[in-house]
């Protein structure tokens, strides 16, 4: 009988699965192979209070710093996406301390002066690229910092777009930059002042504010739960990959 009681999602292990040794914060644990780091930690008996979010590789809450057997390289991955390996040393880093600039978006512009004001350390970058090596999303972090310094905010916004704000770049930076926050600032400025306004979004918000969808919601609140389940199951999907031009559902009364 094992004394370790797994928590969280119950792992679905292949019958041939053997035990491997992982070192969680330096202490040895035997866990079945094929588990993600996240599930391995839970298997070992830990319960996540922080450092765990969507479990789907999107939210950025679960970065792990680790070294694998016989390799000096310090690696970074999301615990929910990275498979545990035999001989791995690891620790979770739930939060990276950074200063978040507080500003009124209506009073800011993406300029050299604004970056100097909110994130002056950006210009300390020595282009060592440690941030890029530390990014679990394979973002070219150093390159977007270079674009910010040279004033190409469009490129910086595009390069940093898939950032999940896990903070590993800032944790590893020898020049003490706060990469993911300055990138967020740039993307906000870019979205606010450079990208064209989405007309359809504006129209939809106006529809919502005018109460167009209220009766539909009211109606849904009146129906029985059985009817709700039925409607949910029978709901119509737009065919993926959304390539049919001018596609419309059969029932158009809610459009």
């Amino acid at each position: 009988m094992t004394t370790v009681k797994p928590s969280g999602d119950k792992p679905n292990l292949p019958p041939t699965s053997r035990l491997i040794e992982v070192f969680i914060m330096g202490k040895s644990y035997k866990v079945p192979e094929t588990l993600t780091i996240q599930k391995a930690i839970e298997w070992a008996g830990f319960q996540f209070i922080r450092s765990c979010g969507c479990r789907g590789g999107i939210c950025g809450a679960c970065p792990t710093i680790y070294r694998t057997k016989d390799d000096y390289k310090l690696k970074v991955g999301l615990a929910c996406q990275t498979v545990a390996e035999d001989g791995m040393y690891l620790v979770q880093l739930p939060f990276v301390p950074v200063q978040k600039a507080i500003y009124n978006i209506e009073e800011e512009k993406a300029t050299l002066a604004a970056i100097e004001k909110h994130y002056p350390e950006t210009f300390r970058c020595v282009q060592c690229n440690t941030c890029t090596k530390a990014c679990p999303m394979d973002i070219e972090v150093m390159q977007y910092i270079a674009e910010i310094i040279k004033g190409d905010y469009k490129k910086a916004a595009e390069l940093s777009h898939s950032c999940i704000m896990c903070g590993m770049c800032a944790a590893r930076c020898p020049a003490e930059l706060q990469q993911f926050n300055v990138a967020m600032f740039i993307r906000r400025m870019y979205g606010r002042y450079v990208l064209p306004k989405a007309e359809h979004l504006k129209n939809r918000v106006e529809d919502i504010e005018a109460g167009k969808y209220e009766p539909m919601l009211d109606e849904l609140q009146q129906v029985s739960s059985g009817e709700l389940v039925k409607r949910y199951k029978e709901r119509e999907w737009e065919p993926e990959p959304y390539e049919v031009p001018d596609w419309k559902p059969k029932d158009t009364k809610y459009l």
Binding site: V126, C128, N129, A146, I149, K150, D152
Partner: protein, 292 residues
């Protein structure tokens, strides 16, 4: 001819007129400055500490970008970028161990093989076009314009990267003469402008600006010509503060050499970007009959 071109951050921000005038005038000389598709800050200041490798990553990474594009030459404009890139290139040539260390650190990049050359645009034009041919291409000679050429520190020092003789350089003077200007003897051509003290010790820079510009005036110059956005900021924009401190100070237009080259070669006036010059040179250039 097409050549890889490293602009540097300042030319994309506050010294846009340096870049636009350089691209325009180079084109008129048959040189296509092809900006590297990917580049980062040059490193800004070449690190002199012998045990400091970290600050050489930036310049060497840029040289790897040049290498990636299959180029053997890279041209740059800003004195600071030129100095840093070229000194770093010389360093790794002289110290293979250092190069190995830098290559090991940048293991995601291809190894740098230090067999490419860093050029300043002035040298590139002199070597590849020649001042005789440059003179032939002049359609609007800078006749009657008295020019003081200012090198500052970074184009002449140290010895390994100097554009020309450290004490008596002629390379920019000869270029100005080829463009039809009259070059005056200017003993402060390699004085320091005060550089980054402009941020913390503005008064120090005001003293430098007062000394350098007043000397140029005394020597009979109409304009000061240079190749460094930092010197340009101190010697042009800080004239405002100099005038506030010394009301009898006489202002003088300060120009990038590319701006004058663009005018002399008949380039588009808009590419000179004179609106970014603090002391407007247009009235003077009109007075001399160089601009209509």
């Amino acid at each position: 001819m097409e050549v890889s071109y490293f602009p540097g951050c300042t030319l994309k921000q506050t010294a846009k007129n340096f870049e636009t005038s350089a691209i325009s005038s180079s084109k008129l000389l048959g040189i296509e400055l092809k900006e590297l598709s990917r580049w980062n800050c040059c490193g800004t200041v070449y690190s002199l500490a012998t045990d400091d490798s970290m600050h050489h990553l930036a310049p060497i990474r840029n040289l790897i970008r040049v290498q990636e594009e299959g180029s053997k030459e890279v041209v740059t404009l800003c004195s600071m970028c030129y100095n840093t890139l070229k000194q770093a290139n010389e360093l790794v040539r002289a110290e293979p161990d250092r190069l190995q260390k830098l290559n090991d650190f940048m293991y995601l990049e291809e190894d740098y093989k230090p067999d490419l050359e860093v050029y300043h645009l002035v040298t590139y034009i002199k070597d590849n076009v020649g001042y005789e041919k440059l003179k032939d291409k002049v359609t609007n000679p800078l006749s009657g314009l008295k020019v003081a050429v200012y090198y500052g520190c970074l184009l002449l020092r140290p010895d390994s990267i100097k554009l020309d003789d450290r004490e008596n350089p002629r390379i920019m003077e000869d270029m100005m003469e080829a463009l039809g200007a009259e070059v005056i003897d200017f003993p402060y051509h390699n004085e320091c402008c005060g550089s980054y003290h402009t941020l913390g010790k503005r008064d120090l820079v005001i003293e430098r600006t007062n000394k350098i510009i007043s000397e140029a005036k005394l020597d009979g110059a109409d304009v000061l010509v240079l190749s460094c956005p930092e010197c340009d900021f101190n010697l042009d924009h800080r004239q405002k503060n100099t005038l506030e401190k010394y009301p009898s100070f006489e202002t003088m237009p300060v120009l990038y050499f590319t701006q004058l080259m663009n005018i002399a070669l008949g380039g588009d006036l808009a590419d000179c970007g004179f609106e970014l010059n603090y002391i407007d040179p247009i009235p003077l250039l009109k007075d001399k009959g160089i601009l209509k």
